[in-house]
Every structure is written in structure tokens, then in C-alpha cells.
């Protein structure tokens, strides 16, 4: 009987030792490559500069901006309320508190959008949630929000609405000291032409 107990004890110990040979437990919480690919397929990771501007203006508490550029760039200019996590340091455990926020949308941005997306890819693999990329980055921010282009007179009314929003947003981001004479957009009236009737003859 004693021999049996010893045998069982050895068996369990051997199994326990087998745990050491399990694959790296790190891999368990990392997002698998095929799951990242399926997230790449739906383009929901991108947010537009307009959306970001609107959420900053509305002081949306669920928006958290992360500037992934180098510190020098960040100190020179950054979006209001943005935190700075340079891409080189994204794996640093110091940033866990920034990256692990429940119910908060983390929006990465850089000058373009490559660095921001690379940060997105790495953070995604680390298993963080609610990650986004500002499409076009700050270059596009300046083209749309800070220096909006007046749409052509023939543009649709939604384009004019967007232009009006961007002008307002620019005023907000430049501290409101700006005076722009409002240019009235000429409204074009379209008249529909009457369809000319075609005389069709049958047999």
C-alpha cells in the first residue's frame, strides 16, 4: 500500500514538473495574429479628425488622446488634453495606467498615421481594448480643422455644413480670438428640365 502512495506522489510530481514545459504563459494574454487580422479587416479603428475635434469641443470624457511622437514634437505642439507616449516607449510598463482604462476610447495620433497605427498594432497585441487611430494624423488635422478649405460653390450642403463646423472648430482651437467675416455662400438654384417627350410609334 505504501508503495502505491509513493507511486501516486511521484506521478503527480512528474505532472507538476510538466507544467514547466508549457509554452510561454505570456502568449496567453497576447492577442492572436488571426484576431488582429480580423480587426484590420473592419476599418473601425480609424476615427476622422472631425470626429476628434467634435469630441474635444464637447469635452467628451470617454476620449483619451495619445500622442506617439517624440517628446520634442509633443512639447512644441499637441492636441488639447493629449498624453505623450513616444512609440519607442510604448512597451514600457509605466504606461499601463494610460493604456488600461475601462470605457475610454484611446486615440493614437502622430504627424502622419503610420506611427499611430504601429502603436495601435503593438498595443492591440498586448491585449488592450478600445484603441483607435486618428486617420491622417496632425498633417490632416491642419488641413481640415485648422486650415479648412472652402468647398466649391457647387458642393453639396453637407460639405458646407462640414466647412462651417471646421471654421467653428478652428476658432475653438485657436483660443477664440479670431474674427472671420462670414462669407455668405451663394445658393444655387437648380431647375429641373422637363423631360422631352419622345414620340414612340408602334406598329
Amino acid at each position: 500500500m505504501n508503495i502505491r502512495y509513493i507511486f501516486f506522489a511521484i506521478l503527480l510530481l512528474a505532472l507538476g514538473a510538466g507544467l514547466f514545459f508549457l509554452p510561454d504563459p505570456k502568449a496567453d494574454y497576447e492577442t492572436q495574429a488571426e484576431n488582429i487580422l480580423s480587426e484590420l479587416k473592419d476599418q473601425t479603428r480609424f476615427v476622422s479628425t472631425d470626429e476628434v475635434a467634435e469630441r474635444i469641443i464637447n469635452q467628451d470624457p470617454s476620449l483619451f488622446l495619445i500622442d506617439v511622437r517624440m517628446v520634442d514634437y509633443y512639447e512644441e505642439f499637441s492636441l488639447p488634453g493629449a498624453a505623450n507616449i513616444p512609440l519607442e516607449e510604448i512597451l514600457n510598463p509605466d504606461w499601463v495606467d494610460y493604456l488600461e482604462q475601462d470605457g475610454v476610447d484611446l486615440v493614437f495620433y502622430s504627424n502622419g498615421d503610420i506611427y499611430a497605427e504601429q502603436a495601435w498594432m503593438l498595443a492591440k497585441r498586448m491585449g488592450y481594448k478600445n484603441l483607435y487611430v486618428m486617420k491622417g494624423g496632425l498633417n490632416h488635422w491642419f488641413e481640415t480643422i485648422i486650415q479648412p478649405k472652402r468647398p466649391a460653390a457647387t458642393a453639396s450642403s453637407t460639405e458646407f455644413d462640414l466647412y462651417e463646423f471646421r471654421k467653428g472648430a478652428r476658432q475653438y482651437f485657436s483660443g477664440g480670438s479670431l474674427n472671420i467675416e462670414d462669407v455668405e455662400a451663394e445658393s444655387l438654384t437648380f431647375t429641373r428640365k422637363k423631360k422631352e417627350t419622345v414620340i414612340e410609334g408602334g406598329c
Partner: protein, 214 residues
Amino acid sequence: MKDTNLKTNRLSIAVLIFVSLLVIGFITMSKPEFEYKLTLEQSLEQILSLEDEMNPDELMEIIDSETKGYKVVDIRNPYEFVKGNIQGSKNIPYQNLFAKENIEFFDQMKKDSVTVVLCGYDQLEANGSWMLLQQLGYSNVKVLQGGYGYYSGETFDMFSESEIPQYFVEEPKYSFVEIMDKLTSGSIIEDEKVEYESIIPTRKKKETVIEGGC
């Protein structure tokens, strides 16, 4: 004596069940289909080195001189691919990147040590696929800066005065500080003053066709 025998028998059955459960657990443990070959740190290092980003001018030279050992893989959808593509490129829409035949293709390329150049419409489109392939150990995969759009000239801005090549999207295109200073001091941006001519579209008259019978 009989009693103790029964006890030990029960015990051995229990242990056997326990052990077999463990064994089943080990066997059915979910194994990832695609295993990362690069750790996060290695992956970050690989991105930052910029070594695996292909310059469009370099690619043009490679294609012009028909240098062996390079293969362009276009990851856009087949519709975009048919409309125009880089000479000699193969179309693998990134949605099917991990399909069996495509993984076999990348394995073959790696075996033959052919450099694969991934190309999307812009660099951003191919970035994710490139990073995934790199992380899975396909170290021969590069990404095309500027993408097909720049390569074909579609997104190339001829009037740009910047000296920085346009495929470096991470370079600031404007002096952000200068623009913001101008704005806060209240000066009007020139762009605002430009008067746009209004264009009134004129529709062409449809010619009427008199259709007759017989």
C-alpha cells in the same frame, strides 16, 4: 483487510481519472494557429529600424533593371488591383492574408529568400499586414513607402514645395507652431480671402431620337 483494499482501489480510480483529465487538458489545450516569432520588443525594434521599409525609387529601379529576388505583393482588393498595378505584382487581398495557399506562398518566398514587397494604396493600408507577417517570422517581407498611389503618381503632388519626399508621411508638412501663432494673434489665413469662382454646371441636352416603328 478487505476494507482497506476497497479504499485503495477507490483511491487508484480517483487518481486515474484525475490524471486522465490532466492529460486530456494538455492535449486539447488551444494552440495558436500562427505563432509569433518576434516578441513585442523585437517587433518594436524592427519597426523603428526602418530597414524593412522599401523606398519607391528603389523599387522602380529594381523593376526597371529586372533584378531577381524581388516579388511585389499587392494587398488591395481585386477590383483596385485590376484597375492598375505594379508590373509583375501578385494580388493577395489582405483579408485573405492567412489563407492556406497564401501562407504557403509566403513560406515558399522565404525558403527561396525572395524579398517580398507589400504594397497597398498607401503605406498605411499595408502597414498592418506587414507588421503581422514580420511578427510571424517572415523577415523577408518589406512594405512599400507611399504605396501604389505614390508609385503610380496618383497621390504625387507636383506643386509641393517641400523638400521632404512625399512618401515620408510622418514628417510634419506644416510648421504647426507658426500656424497656431498666426491664428491666435488674429491674422486671417490667406486661404480665406481667395474668392472661388462659382461654377454653374450646364447640362447637355439629350438629343431626342424619334423612334418609329417598323
